[in-house]
């Protein structure tokens, strides 16, 4: 079946199978910043924003996402210029292997859009659905806290 998705501000017509998840389709058409992790809504590596709110793209149907604004990690930097939250992750070494980083940044982006001067508790709650097995979250929390003060 053919569906129309609005991804990072651009409309795309995509051929999909009815059972395909949004994660599968996004990766197939080139948005490989959307990572395949557990694939059952447990790790957050596939996090994208849907109408500005984070969701697990692995466990919603691609067809269900038609008509919604989808933002992936590829939609953040413009003209090679990183967004503030990406810069903070880079300068504060908030990534180690990097696999969870796109998902964490998308969750952080949604948090920062809603509120500035986030407390540590708010940040930890906001990224609770994103697993990182390398860094232990301290630098991730620091990066988001720093971005929320700017």
């Amino acid at each position: 079946m053919q569906i129309d998705l609005r991804i990072n501000g651009s409309d795309q017509s995509v051929m999909i199978k009815p059972h395909e998840s949004l994660r599968e389709v996004l990766r197939r058409i080139g948005f490989t910043g959307v990572k395949k992790g557990c694939d059952v809504g447990g790790c957050g590596a596939c996090t994208v924003l849907l109408n500005g709110d984070p969701i697990y793209s692995c466990c919603v149907f691609a067809a269900w996402a038609q008509g919604k604004d989808i933002t992936t990690i590829e939609g953040l930097a413009t003209g090679g210029e990183l967004q503030l939250i990406q810069q903070e992750f880079a300068t504060r070494n908030a990534a180690q292997c990097g696999f969870c980083t796109p998902g964490l940044i998308m969750s952080a982006k949604a948090l920062l859009e809603k509120k500035q001067n986030l407390t540590e508790e708010e940040i930890r709650r906001g990224i609770a659905g994103n697993l990182c097995r390398c860094t232990g979250y301290v630098k991730v929390v620091d990066a988001i806290a720093s971005a929320s003060k700017k």
Binding site: S21, R27, G41, C43, V60, A128
Partner: protein
């Protein structure tokens, strides 16, 4: 490089994804296809069940986003929740923060990960038939009923009678849930919901919802206590309720009720915890939920 996808033992391969425009569209599809069609909320539970190989017979997915079932309507006698209403709207709605008797609902919808709260729908949480989801437990203590619609008409089912066994509900193959109805709550009532889980993205090890109603002397006139993740279905524990009624909710009464609770539930042992551990956890969650509800009664 193409991705390697590990197919489940029994593949989920529906032929068609239909965007229903009207309630009649859904009724007609379910009449024709029965159990081989599935209504899609956001699809989160369907996805999980499909990975387990449990939906191989499903040939048609029916999307109900365009039916206008995303609403919360509050009146003096009834609160109505549309089937497609996402969980975050329950968490954020003023009525579930203001009305102490319905606080258990916002407690149950206020969980992490946010990625699930932002997409999961009310009917999805109810129809999954999983004892581990929070919302059914919380809705039971406010006497919620669900409206099930089919070509034969609609019927209202008390949520406490909806669950039959693990993954098995009273929803018939030709029916779908359109609405949840919460009656006017008794005066001098407060409710609370408590759960415990091992990590943010994991399912709860156990959950308890409670609603307490006081009489004019400040004694417990009536109560509702429901459990989640502590047996094969989310359910009310009526012996516990009876033991709370007509007490003044002192520590002895609560301890006696907690002791009955651990006898009335039948929690499973799995990789997360043993059944014995869950029984102990249930007592602790019960005491915490009681304390929360009692404190809310003072407001």
């Amino acid at each position: 490089m193409s991705e390697v996808y590990r197919f489940p033992a029994v593949a989920f391969r529906p032929d068609e994804y239909v965007r229903a425009k009207t309630v009649e569209d859904v009724v007609s599809i379910l009449k024709e296809h029965g159990d081989t069609a599935r209504v899609v909320g956001a699809g989160i539970t369907l996805h999980e069940l499909s990975v387990m190989g449990m939906l191989s017979g499903v040939k048609k997915l029916v999307d109900i986003q365009q039916l206008g079932l995303d609403y919360i309507e509050v009146s003096a006698e009834l609160t109505k929740l549309g089937a497609s209403t996402p969980m975050f709207k329950l968490r954020d709605h003023e009525v579930f923060k203001r009305e102490q008797a319905m606080r258990a609902i916002s407690d149950a919808a206020d969980f992490v990960p946010l990625q699930v709260v932002n997409a999961a729908t009310i009917a999805g949480e109810i129809c999954a038939g999983l004892p581990i989801l929070s919302l059914p437990t919380a809705l039971m203590v406010v006497d919620a009923k669900i409206k099930c619609l089919s070509w034969e008409g609609d019927r209202e089912v008390p949520l406490e009678n909806f669950y039959v066994d693990y993954f098995l509900t009273d929803l018939r193959p030709e029916e779908f849930v359109t609405e949840v109805r919460i009656p006017k709550q008794p005066a001098k009532s407060a409710s609370a919901f408590k759960y415990e889980k091992m990590s943010a993205a994991d399912y709860p090890l156990g959950s308890i919802a409670i609603r307490i109603t006081l009489n004019e002397r400040g004694e417990c006139q009536d109560s509702r206590v429901a459990t989640g993740s502590l047996g094969r279905i989310p359910m009310r524990v009526k012996k516990v309720e009876e033991s709370l009624n007509k007490t003044n909710l002192d520590s002895q009464s609560l301890a006696r009720a907690a002791s009955l609770l651990s006898k009335e539930i039948d929690p499973i042992t799995d990789l997360r915890a043993t059944g014995d551990y869950r029984r102990k956890l249930a007592r602790s969650l019960f005491m915490d939920a009681c304390e929360m509800a009692i404190n809310r009664l003072k407001r």
